[in-house]
Symmetry: C2
DNA sequence: TTTATATATAACCAAACGGTTATATGAAAT
DNA sequence: ATTTCATATAACCGTTTGGTTATATATAAA
């Protein structure tokens, strides 16, 4: 369901993740940190919410966003194990190559 | 220039990265591992090449692909430090909160 | 030399992305 | 009650993504 790869594909969304991880932010806090329009920010927030990496809380006319830490942590761990494999494979391939230098 | 986030956004491209990290593969090896068309695979390879995560080598009618390990490693490290910040921020925020429990 | 195989390219398509402007809604402050 | 401010939504736009089919090209094998 959660696609962290989609969520982090855009630099604006990565910066939003960093912002809300430090401190809960209102939408206008976030809008103020970028030079794009409020609806554009809204769409980025919608993607982050859709991928469940953000939680929102309504207080009067304000909407607060914060990191959904458990989900982010879990998804990030999975990402690391998936991409980590790429480098491990490379090392395994090299190891095999070295072990069989004389035989081939 | 290299945008690893773009490169890894698609699961097919992530699988290609894993494949070529184990062993140099021809394009038809790769095509055979998926159930999409050869031109579709070609486009994924084009994106991975564009982002410099793959190297290609021509041998007669075959085209071999392999991981561009130094670039992948470097970009992956940067990704980790960028995303790692998100969790570190969260911890720092929590620390600050605990330290100031009595004052607020 | 014909045939088969590997790769490349073109044309097309629908859907998603990333932005815009304009406007509506809803809550708070004057 | 009216204005102000935060957020939401609609309509639009150009580009990118991710796929297709059909076809061209280039090398290798029969």
């Amino acid at each position: 369901m959660t696609d962290i790869y989609r969520a982090i594909a855009d630099p604006i969304r990565r910066k939003i993740l960093r912002m809300v991880s430090q401190k809960e932010c209102t939408q206008s806090d976030i809008v103020a940190s970028f030079s794009i329009s409020q609806p554009a920010i809204k769409k980025h927030l919608a993607i982050l919410l859709e991928e469940q990496l953000l939680l929102e809380r309504r207080m009067g006319k304000f909407c607060y966003y914060r990191l959904n830490t458990p989900v982010f942590q879990q998804e990030y761990l999975q990402l690391q194990s998936e991409l980590g494999l790429v480098l491990e494979n490379k090392l395994a391939g090299l190891k095999h190559y070295l072990e069989n230098l004389e035989e081939e």
